[in-house]
Structure formats: C-alpha cells, structure tokens
Symmetry: D3
C-alpha cells in the first residue's frame, strides 16, 4: 500500500545495494525494513539518509537509548505511524523498560497539553528565558 | 499580547495563589513565569496542570534532564515558540551541555526528515515491529 | 512583516473593493482586518474565502458562538498565531464568557493530550466506533 | 497493532481496575474501549487522564455535545485517527445530528484553509485584536 | 471505516448528483473516488469544494503537474494518508516521472528538516527577508 | 531571541567558516543569513545540512523555482515562520511572479482544506490509487 514498490535486493542497483550492505553490517542482521526498500528508488536520498542517521544515532553526549526515545517523541508529535512503530521497537531493542516507556509517554502527553495551552493563550516569552 | 491578561499575585484568588506558592517552593525561586500567570484565570486547570507536571517531570526511570529534552523535542515538533524557549532554558538549568543540545537538535532534525519520507512513501509497518 | 504588502482601499482593484464593502456591510463596521488586506492581492481567492466564510459561519444547526469556538480550537491545534488572536477576539465579541473560554481551553488541552497518547500507543479503532 | 498489549480486566492490577470500574459506572456501560486498555500499563497515567477527562467533559458553561465537537475538531487538526473515530461516535451518542456534523466539518475545513493562508502570508495581528 | 457512509449515485440527491456529473465530465471518467462520496452528505460543501478545486487546479501561471506536486507536499506535511495516496496518483496521471517524484520527496525531506531546526533554534527573520 | 547566539565569522571555527565560504561562493553574495549562524554551533550539522540542501535544490528533473515553491508549501504546512519568510524571499529571487505566488497560496489553501475534510471523514483509500 506504499506509494512506491518496495524493492527487493534483486531489484535495486549497485549503489542502493551498497547501502543495504552497510545497514546489515552496522545492525548485525540480514533484515532490511520497508522504509529503506521504499527509499531505494532514490539511491542518493537512501545513502544521504542512512549515513546521516548512522552518525546522528551513534553514542555521543547522549546515549543511543535516549536518542531513540527523543526520536519516538518527535514521531508521535508528527503523527508518523510507521515511525512510531519502528522507533518504539528500536527503543525496546536498545533496552527501554516498561517503566521508561510509561514515563516517555507521560512527558509526551504533558508537553502536548501545555503546548496547546501556551498556544491558545499566546503567552509572550519571559525575558529570563531569552538570555 | 497574550489572549488573556497575565495575572499578578494580587489579582489571583486563593486557589491560584496556593499553586503559585507550590511552584515557588518546588522550584526554589520567587519567579513565576508567564505561562502560569495566564493559566491562573482557570484555577482548576492551573492546579491540574501543575500537579501533573510536577509528578511527570520528577526523577524516575528517566532522569529530569532526559525528560526535559523530550519535552523540548515535542515542543519543537508542535511548533510552540513559548515552550521551545522555556524548556530549552529549563534543560540548560538542569545541566544540558552545548554538545548535548547539538545532539538533541540532530535527532529532532533527523526524525523530522524521516517522518516526512515515511509519510510521503506511506510505508506499511513491517510485521517484525508489530510484535 | 507580512510576506506581501497589506493593501489599502486605494490600492486594491474594484473586485477586491467589492469584497471589502460586503465585509463592512455584513459586520457593521468600517474596519477591515489585516488578513483581508493581505489576501486582496488575489481578488479571486479573497472573494472565494470571504463568501464561503460568510456562509459557513452563519447561524445554522450550530450557533455562531459555537462555530467560533470550534474555529479557535482548530487554529490552536494548527498553531496559527494570527488566527488564535482574531478568532478569540471574535468569540468574545459574540458573547463568549470567561468561564466558557476556560472550558474551551480545557477541552483543547485534554484533546491534545489524549491525541498524543492514542498516537503513541497506536491504538486500533474499536469495532463499535466503526458503525 | 498497538505498540503495547491491550490489557483485559484479568491482566490489570487493582489500581487500573478501579479506574475501569469508574469508567463503567460513569458511562453506564460494561464496555471499556481500547484506549483505556492500552493506557492501563501505566495506572497513574490512566487515573490522571480519566479523572481529568471526566471533569473537563462534564456539563458546565459549555454543554457536553459542544465540548465533544470541539474535541473532534482538535482531533482532526492533530490527525489522530483513533480520536476522530471515537469522538465522532461519542458526539453522535450525545445527539449530534447529521446537519450539525456537516456544519462542524465546514468550520474545520474553513479554519484549516484560512490558518494556512494567514501562515503563508505571515499576517501581523491587528492592534484591535490585542486588547 | 469512514465516519460516514460512502454514498452511491442512487443515494445522493439531485444537487450532489449534479456535482458528480461535473466531476465525471471534467475528468473524462465515470469513476468518482471515495472522498466525494463521503462529502456528498453535505451537497453545499461538496459543490463549494469541487468548484474551487476545479478552478484552483486548472492551468494558469503554474501548470497542473506543478500544482499537483505542491498538493502532495502539503498533504505529506499535514499527514493526510488518503490525500498522499490520491494526489500522488494524480501527479503520476499528469506525467510525474520517477525522477521528479524523487526530487519532490527530497525537497519535502529537506524542508521538514530545516523547518524543525529553525523552530528549535527560534531564529529571528533576517531584515533582508522582510522587504 | 534565538535559543542560541548567532555566531559571527570571528566566532566560528575553521569547519563552520569553510561552510560559510561555500555558501557565499554558491550564492554569489557575502550575506550569511541567521539560520546558518545559529546552526554553526554544530559544524557537523551545519555541513551536513548545507551540502544536502545545495544538492537537493540544484536544477534537476524539477527546476529551482518549482523546488522553492514546494519548500514554501511544506514550510507553511509545518508553520515555520522563519522558513516561510526566507523561502518566499528565495522564490521571488528565483523569479516567482505575483500571479505564481497567488496560485501557490491557492493550492496550499485548497490542500489544507481537503486534507482536513479527508481526515475528518476518515475516507478509505480507493483501490485504484493503490496501484
């Protein structure tokens, strides 16, 4: 039901296959999820997206699980069903506990509520927050 | 420029003032930011929002800084200017470093991009993510 | 700071002026707010928007104040600052009380919160709601 | 296909069951819809959400049907499929007629259109709306 | 699974049928897609929407394919699944090539990313852009 | 009022300055707009964003003006004020006429309206659009 055909390994060209190979090596699995198979129609976008993703989600000043939960939060706010499913699964694979998931959802719910209230009230930013 | 008057301590009733007092005690400052002064027109909403916020943002399975960064992420995705300013300031007050802020923004940017691509491609959720 | 010049009565053509005249007559005021002065660069869009608006917001199965509050709710969720200001003012002009405004905001806040939770949880629609 | 298991009465703890009981008593039905069964993984969030919802949606300065239509409007603008289905069904259960639903949708469509135009034009808020 | 019944030609009244006839004539096909069959519950909204759509999407200073790709871009950003599917199909019918679709998606992805960054950074508009 | 300081040429490091230089060379102007000066706190994000932007917005199967109008459409739908201003200015610089701008806004307005209606009606995708 995607707007483009999901491409198999046999259907993609060499450039896309090289990205698939790097995904497999990086993740330690043969599995390539649908997102990449749809994106493979544009090998340049596929490569740019994957390489930036790999770099952004690597361990750094924030650990990979924290990054994955931030990813889930954005995906919920942007209402991307595929992304909510895939990044929730990824967060679990990276060790998110049931209690952490509860707290993640509580923060998302709280923020959504106060975002709407601040917008409805059109509150001016306090001077102290501008420093 | 808010859609309601920002209420001073002298203008709010006893119920709202009790919430202001608890905000002051909890945060260890006399300062009450504009959001609460606008919300004080509805003491019930003020109390419900503050009490849930205090509980949700407390230390738990996720630490307060992680929660604050998730809050920023949702506020950016929901495009709430007041909230982006106030919660970025709060994250800094809780110790967010420049490098952590860079990584937070990188994850938000990455997620926004792949959210749009997954939506444009209408990718079906992989079976493995449904388990 | 608009992306187009706000046009005065002297600067618009006959087609746009006819719409301005109808706005004035319908609202019983000489005042034309900035939205229409910006939209006047495209007289066709101006006329189509105003005529549909006039018809949609007229008294019907829903009264004008109820319609105006629904308008505010959509404008908050879409985060349109101009629209939140102008339609909150319009709702007040149509008799919205402080208590009604409080309840309007409470419903918006509640919905924003449960919308986010339902999306985060990716809850399937109950069969009973499909009938 | 939810990101968490929908919990049966037998699977939830005492705290969640007490909320389910109150939902049943308040609504006069044995039926608990999927949203609450998903939310029951976090009894505290379940209780906080239900109790605030019950209070917010009660009869007040706005009647329950008006509140439900505002809820639908926010859910459409936030694009929450579950919420559009469940709150449209709720509005019908509270007496929304076909003509009222038509007008609700007309206002949502109108607001969505003018929200986009005002944002595209970046119209400044008129002084008169700031008072 | 729509929130209203999709109406057949036999179920709609004369006003809605006249719109269906014009859709058929304009598009040169007997097929009426689900959107219009759902909208037919409100013949006035059906007529207003179709007539404005026909005028807006006609050839003008922008050609029909360019307009259709802009339509897809808005539908992706607003996350309307039905709209992404139907307008992607329409763009293809109007001649969108695979390479054009790739570039359309690249621009959408790029814009989504920089939109989020500009919002997170709350960047002030440069004076030069205000002229 | 940005959440980070806008960095001058003197304040950025060599990596960011190299990006600034490429922006200047590519655009044929000394001017660096605020977005890049804010982004320069993270030279890696700055470089990744600029290089992908340069590639994506170059002439291809779609011409630069068409791409810029698609960029404006996404920015409006995502409600990014900075982006609407800067990309509207960019579209004008690339030759967008007043009539083209009118038509761009008409399509955005039309899409926003039918997006909301399709979501409110929860219309199922027609089989014919899935092929």
């Amino acid at each position: 039901m995607a707007t483009v055909k999901l491409l198999t390994d046999e259907e993609v060209g060499a450039a896309a296959l090289a990205v698939f190979d790097d995904i497999r090596k990086t993740r330690g699995t043969e599995f390539i999820n649908n997102f990449w198979r749809a994106l493979a129609h544009d090998p340049e976008q596929l490569k740019a997206t994957w390489e930036r993703l790999k770099s952004v989600m690597a361990n750094g000043a924030l650990d990979p699980l924290t990054k994955e939960m931030i990813y889930v939060a954005v995906s919920v706010a942007n209402n991307c069903s595929y992304c909510v499913h895939s990044h929730t699964a990824a967060a679990r694979a990276k060790g998110m506990t049931a209690q952490q998931q509860n707290e993640l959802l509580s923060v998302i719910a709280m923020a959504s509520q106060t975002n709407a209230l601040a917008t409805a009230l059109q509150v001016d930013v306090d001077e102290v927050f501008k420093e």
